[in-house]
């Protein structure tokens, strides 16, 4: 930590470029049925202290995106596109050696996983598992590490940390385990925290606590967060920017406010409509849902990948796959016929 963290703090004070840049990320898997492209040409940046939400339904490639950044996918099945880059500290992580990656993992970029019940090693104590990360990435001595672990457990609002440090995962509830995971992820003060559905497995009250905690820690440590979720409610609570994915591609990208108030892709619109609203609909009315299912990655239709489920489908959507077009106001969408009035767009452009 020492030297690097000094450097970080210096960096964080000045407003400078993104801490992590993903450029044209394409991840392919070798499977029995042939090669499948799980993530197709995904690009984004995250700045220090910013929270980027990556949203989409199961199988859209959001988890693969996050695991590609950390290179957590098994080498013998996963491969990356030739032009793909994950730039962190001037290095392309996709081409980095395994030992370079080890230095980045847990130290520069850390990750929280979906399943707190199984993500901790059941046969080692909480303290041991935190200590491990500190041992790899800091020069602290054993006693200092223990003090730091207790401090981290306090930071994530773990009750009674002096006692919990020597307990095993099975002695903790799901919410407490996720706090431990967050403590592990943050103990080396990473520049980027990737949270892959961190609250999905938790009940709603705990969800809110964990999200608050992440928000608070972000502002305190100025960490950039990539939050992967299918839950738009979560996105609304914590994200600055949102990227919506569908069948391996980014289909919409804008500030969280824009995505919620002014979605341009019919898929995003459909997702928003399907959130139950209090007092919004008459009693007994069915919640609107997006009809159909996600196309199989092996049998993608030519043209727009969303066409078969789209209410506004035209001939052009079948013939030509739309590019990700950035409107003058910075709102990007992959749709030939984006929603929202064109008048609005001109206003946005002129201002």
């Amino acid at each position: 930590m020492g030297q690097r963290s000094e450097q970080n703090r210096a960096n964080r004070t000045g407003a400078e470029g993104p801490v992590l840049s993903v450029r044209r990320l394409t991840t392919r898997f070798r499977t029995d049925r042939g090669i499948v492209t799980a993530v197709d040409d995904v690009s984004f940046d995250v700045a220090p202290g910013e929270t980027l939400g990556i949203v989409g339904e199961s199988g859209c490639g959001k988890t693969v995106t996050s695991k590609s950044i950390m290179r957590l996918l098994p080498d013998h099945v996963a491969s990356y596109g030739d032009e793909s880059e994950v730039i962190y500290r001037g290095n392309n992580l996709l081409r980095a050696s395994e030992s370079e990656m080890r230095k980045v993992r847990g130290d520069g970029i850390a990750m929280i996983f979906q399943e707190p019940m199984t993500s901790l090693n059941p046969v080692f104590t909480v303290g041991w598992q935190l200590n491990e990360a500190l041992k790899y990435h800091t020069k602290l001595r054993a006693r200092e590490r223990r003090a730091r672990i207790i401090e981290m457990l306090k930071l994530v609002d773990m009750p009674n940390p002096e006692k919990r440090i020597d307990e095993y995962p099975h002695q903790l509830s799901g919410g407490m385990r996720q706090r431990v995971m967050i403590a592990i992820a943050l103990c080396c003060e990473p520049d980027v925290l990737i949270a892959d559905e961190p609250t999905t497995a938790l009940d709603v009250t705990i969800q809110a606590q964990i999200l608050d905690l992440m928000n608070e820690l972000k502002s305190r440590l100025n960490t950039a967060i990539i939050l992967i979720t299918h839950d738009l409610g979560v996105v609304a609570q914590v994200c600055d920017r949102v990227q919506v994915m569908y069948a391996g591609r980014v289909i919409e990208s804008a500030s969280a406010r824009e995505v919620f108030h002014n979605p341009r892709h019919p898929y995003t619109r459909g997702l928003l409509d399907s959130i139950p609203k209090q007092g919004g609909k008459q009693k007994g009315a069915r919640l609107p849902a997006i009809g159909g299912i996600v196309p199989s990655l092996w049998e993608l239709p030519p043209g727009c990948r969303f066409q078969e489920r789209c209410r506004y489908k035209q001939q052009k959507c079948v013939d030509v796959e739309p590019d990700l077009v950035t409107d003058p106001d910075g709102h990007a969408r992959r749709c030939h016929f984006p929603l929202g009035t064109s008048a609005k767009l001109t206003v946005g452009a002129s201002s």
């Binding site: 950390m70 080890r102 996983f113 993500s119 090693n121 059941p122 046969v123 080692f124 790899y136 099975h170």
Partner: protein, 328 residues
């Protein structure tokens, strides 16, 4: 932890007594004296032998005597086959040779098996894994006896014939390498001469089964979420395999070791016979062939004790490696 151990021991006391009752009754279904003496024996001879073993007394009394012998571990009855030798004496002199084979064989085969399986799991699906697994199947397909005969021939007989005086392995025979009492001592050289070759054969025989089983265990562990967490923390691959995975894999490993224990004992009977090692396996076979009732009765009690002890040890080891067991 001590409470846990004591509880486990207490649970197993009734089990052991139950085993003793069964053994006791099973050995008396047919009159052991007739079995031993045969049809031509005179009534007087029969009565005398029966009285000397107390077999003429009521069953509960007989069982009481049996129980006392087991509890005090003092088997005073004389062997029928080896006249003038107490059963306890036979037990005492055969236990060390037996353990000299089984304990090193079990420890070595487990350690080596786990190590090879970790290598196979590490290279899962690639050449080293394939080669190791083919070797394992090959090893499993060959009979124990073939290993013994080949081993004796190529690793003991041939070099000795060739006049290699320093060659350490003997074809057969045994000299005690641990001598108790006055003038006693430990002679590791003797262990090498007489026990090492059979131990090596035993390890090689179990290697195929062990590595295949342990590999399956390790491969299952590699898919667990905590492994991904460890990678994401920046752990090295050896750390992940030998610390994270290994400790989680210990439960199936322990189960496996303890469940192979009976086979190790049976396997060592073969080894003891072929290598002329006067261990418990050889003694019990001799006793069964000769219908040596006092020896059989005592040895079966001791074998049962070994198994029950291993069951208790299994549970205790579970608790040592897995914190979740300690609570329940």
């Amino acid at each position: 932890m001590w409470a846990f151990i004591i509880r486990k021991i207490l649970y197993n006391v009734p089990v052991y007594v139950g085993v003793l009752v069964l053994v006791f009754l099973a050995l008396r279904v047919q009159d052991p004296v007739y079995q031993y003496l045969g049809q031509e024996a005179g009534q007087e001879q029969i009565d005398q032998l029966r009285r000397s073993m107390g077999l003429d007394r009521p069953l509960p009394v007989q069982f009481g005597i049996y129980l006392r012998e087991v509890v005090t571990f003092n088997f005073e009855a004389q062997s029928w086959n080896q006249r003038g030798t107490e059963v306890g004496e036979i037990l005492k002199r055969s236990i060390v040779p037996s353990l000299s084979l089984t304990v090193p064989a079990l420890v070595l085969s487990t350690v080596i098996g786990v190590f090879i399986s970790l290598i196979a799991a590490y290279f899962r699906g690639r050449a080293p894994d394939r080669i190791l697994m083919i070797a394992a199947v090959l090893g499993m397909s060959i009979s124990f006896l073939v290993y013994i005969i080949f081993g004796q021939f190529f690793f003991a007989a041939v070099p000795r014939e060739a006049g290699l005086g320093w060659w350490p392995f003997a074809v057969q025979g045994y000299e005690p390498w641990i001598v108790f009492g006055e003038g006693g001592g430990v002679y590791p050289g003797r262990w090498v001469t007489y026990c090492m070759l059979p131990v090596m054969i035993s390890v090689i025989v179990s290697m195929g089964y062990d590595t295949r089983f342990y590999r399956a265990v390790m491969v299952e562990e590699t898919g667990r979420d905590y492994i991904t967490t460890a990678v994401a923390k920046g752990a090295t691959k050896p750390k992940i395999m030998f610390v994270h995975m290994l400790k989680n894999a210990m439960i199936p490993v322990i189960t496996r070791v303890m469940s192979t224990l009976p086979f190790v004992v049976i396997g060592s009977i073969l080894l003891e016979m072929y290598f002329g090692i006067p261990g418990m396996g050889r003694e019990i076979i001799t006793a069964i062939i000769n219908k040596d009732f006092p020896v059989i009765q005592a040895f079966v009690a001791v074998f049962a004790l070994i198994f029950i002890a291993s069951v208790i040890l299994t549970d205790v080891l579970y608790a040592v490696v897995d914190p979740r067991v300690r609570l329940s």
